[in-house]
């Protein structure tokens, strides 16, 4: 199988803690790859290392054949990788629509030297509004387009994070606990959305989740982490039946 994103032997320590202790994963094209593991096992750290927020002490991150280890986050974005955060990081006082618009790629009016000349960006801006509206409709957020993001409910914030990610035309989306703190019905809805998006837009997902029960059925491939290490990998059922995984979850 084709794996556009590969990590090899990543090590990241915080003081004495080895948050990542030799992590190698492959994220397969147009699949949903899931990383599970108990709290503190290093899942968020892995996403932070891949997206350039942390520098690993050792190891390599490769995307479509090129080495992207240690690039700053905004360069990682240019490669086509977008991430979401465990706690939504919305532009709080900006409206839902503005949040979407900021996420778009190559908006000419964001260049200072073009900003003064409305004619140079008006068209692009209108197109982006149209695109944003389509995505918001998909996520049932379109009626909220002019509300400040901070007035949304927790679930709507999660959806907006997803919408914002889609706005950027990514090749790959990394999501840190997209359903944390969301009720099971909405959680399933979110995953249904992701499934259909994957099909429609040929997206690749790497999803970190703590709650296996809901996430597992949607996954194509699963890695289980514990204390900075990959302790198991395979299809959802393989990983679920792995005794080491059960032990890690029950705390051993």
């Amino acid at each position: 199988m084709d794996a556009p994103l590969k990590t090899r032997d990543l090590v990241k320590t915080f003081g004495g803690i080895r948050a990542l202790d030799g992590v190698s994963i492959d994220v397969y094209n147009e699949k949903i790859t899931l990383i599970i593991g108990p709290n503190g096992s290093g899942k968020t750290t892995l996403i932070n290392v891949i997206t350039g927020f942390y520098h690993p002490e050792r190891g390599e991150v490769k995307f479509n054949g090129s080495n992207i280890t240690g690039l700053p986050p905004f360069k990682i974005f240019e490669k086509g990788i977008v991430r979401t955060f465990q706690i939504p990081h919305l532009f709080k006082s900006l409206t839902v629509l503005e949040n979407m618009l900021v996420a778009s790629r190559n908006n000419p009016g964001e260049k200072l030297r073009k900003a003064l000349f409305k004619n140079s960006w008006r068209r692009a801006e209108e197109h982006l509004v149209e695109k944003a509206l389509r995505i918001l409709e998909l996520l049932n957020l379109d009626h909220l387009w002019d509300k400040p993001a901070c007035t949304l409910s927790g679930g709507q914030m999660k959806l907006l994070e997803i919408g914002r990610a889609l706005m950027a035309d990514p090749l790959m989306v990394l999501m840190d606990e997209p359903i944390a703190g969301v009720n099971p019905r909405l959680a399933n809805e979110i995953f249904e959305h992701l499934l259909s998006l994957r099909k429609e837009l040929n997206l690749t997902f790497l999803i970190v989740e703590h709650r296996l029960d809901i996430a597992l059925p949607y996954a194509d491939y699963v890695y289980a982490m514990d204390r900075g290490k990959i302790i198991s990998k395979g299809s959802p059922s393989e990983v679920l039946e792995d005794k080491i995984v059960a032990r890690a979850y029950l705390g051993g």
């Binding site: 997206t51 927020f53 700053p72 986050p73 905004f74 974005f77 240019e78 977008v82 991430r83 955060f85 990081h89 919305l90 532009f91 709080k92 006082s93 900006l94 409206t95 629509l97 503005e98 949040n99 618009l101 900021v102 996420a103 790629r105 908006n107 000419p108 009016g109 964001e110 260049k111 200072l112 073009k114 900003a115 003064l116 409305k118 960006w121 008006r122 801006e125 209108e126 509004v129 149209e130 509206l133 387009w145 002019d146 400040p148 914002r164 950027a168």
Partner: protein, 355 residues
């Protein structure tokens, strides 16, 4: 008797200066969230450019050989001579005025980049402290390094409006100052209502999310500081021409704080707010300056303005924490119009087959 015209001219001139300063801080703090506590530095940059260069550059034209005279001792005389010379050459006078304020803006912008460079990537509070320190550093250097603006004595600035008689001169000067300020306000408002302005606000709200979406936060912040500092430099140059002299001690941190109060009072992130905040300050300050001769208070009367403004700030923060005119979404284009048009189009082709 209060000379009403003089008072009015004075209010307009000072309003122009403070309007420039408050929109400059509004770009940095209101939109981009950069706590620039070094506003006085960039204001001073413009003033120092005008103070140190105008006389020196024009003296040879006025027939003064700078090698023959001690600039520090005779700077007032030199400035007077240059003014006289300019009064006979309107074109040169105006060219000098415009060239010097542009130079002031460039110097302000340059300093903005240099002073913030070490700290632009650090946390905001470090940047704030760095800028505050840089401002004091510049003032202390200017105070003690005589060749710049004649140290503690200060330097006289030639008058580029000397060709006009009496009050007319002040009216024209204040009018030009106000026109410049309004033009800059309009430019900044245009920037604020562009995707770039929205980007500044997004970075202010969540720097990490902005990075995720490919924004080079450090370099965009730098641009905001460049805009803000150039405007402050411009204000400093205009101010120096208006008051006719440049003294290092005129650029203390208190000036920075006054501008902060204007922006917070008027409404950060709203250019109309910055305009209102500075208007409230200038009006109350200038009026208190006038009435203070007629009233007695049991403390130093010069503090009355600060006290009044401080009280006002506390009241506004208590009852309108986002300022008198709070921030609004910046409508780059008419979103409602575009969206209702899109929805109508979708209605018209029900199956959504278009596209």
């Amino acid at each position: 008797m209060i000379d009403i015209i003089r008072l009015l001219v004075d209010i307009i001139a000072f309003y122009a200066i403070y309007l420039l300063l408050s929109i400059s801080l509004n770009v940095e703090y209101g939109y981009a969230g950069i706590p620039n506590f070094g506003k006085a530095l960039f204001f001073a940059a413009g003033g120092f450019v005008v103070g140190s260069l105008t006389s020196r550059l024009l003296a040879p034209l006025a027939g003064i050989d700078l090698h023959q005279v001690n600039f520090k001792i005779y700077n007032v005389l030199i400035a007077t001579k240059v003014s006289q010379y300019l009064s006979g050459n309107i074109l040169l006078a105006l060219t000098a005025f415009i060239a010097m304020i542009i130079l002031g803006a460039i110097m302000g912008g340059l300093l903005g980049v240099v002073a913030s460079y070490p700290a632009i990537r650090l946390r905001e509070d470090y940047l704030a402290i760095t800028l505050l320190a840089a401002g004091e550093l510049a003032r202390i250097i200017a105070r003690n390094y005589d060749p710049l603006i004649c140290g503690t004595l200060g330097v006289s600035v030639p008058d580029p409006f000397a060709w006009l008689p009496g009050i007319q001169r002040s009216i024209v000067q204040a009018g030009i100052m106000m026109s410049i300020a309004v033009m800059v306000w309009l430019l900044v408002e245009r920037i604020a209502r562009s995707p770039f302005g929205r980007l500044l606000r997004a970075i202010r709200e969540d720097e990490r999310a902005a990075e995720v979406y490919g924004k080079n936060v450090a370099s965009i912040r730098m641009r905001a500081l460049l805009i803000g500092s150039s405007i402050a430099g411009l204000a400093g140059a205009i101010y120096a021409f208006y008051v006719g002299s440049v003294h290092a001690d005129d650029y203390t941190p208190i000036r920075t704080f006054i501008v902060w109060v204007m922006v917070v009072l008027g409404g950060a992130g709203n250019n109309a707010g910055a305009a209102l905040g500075s208007l409230v300050y200038v009006l109350s300050d200038r009026i208190i300056m006038q009435v203070k001769y007629y009233i007695t208070v049991p403390f130093d009367i010069n503090y009355l303005s600060y006290m009044a403004f401080g009280t006002l700030l506390i009241l506004v923060l208590m009852y309108r924490p986002k300022g008198i005119l709070p921030e609004k979404p910046s409508l780059t284009i008419d979103f409602s119009k575009v969206i209702s048009r899109l929805r109508e189009e979708a209605e018209a082709s029900p199956e959504g087959s278009g596209g």
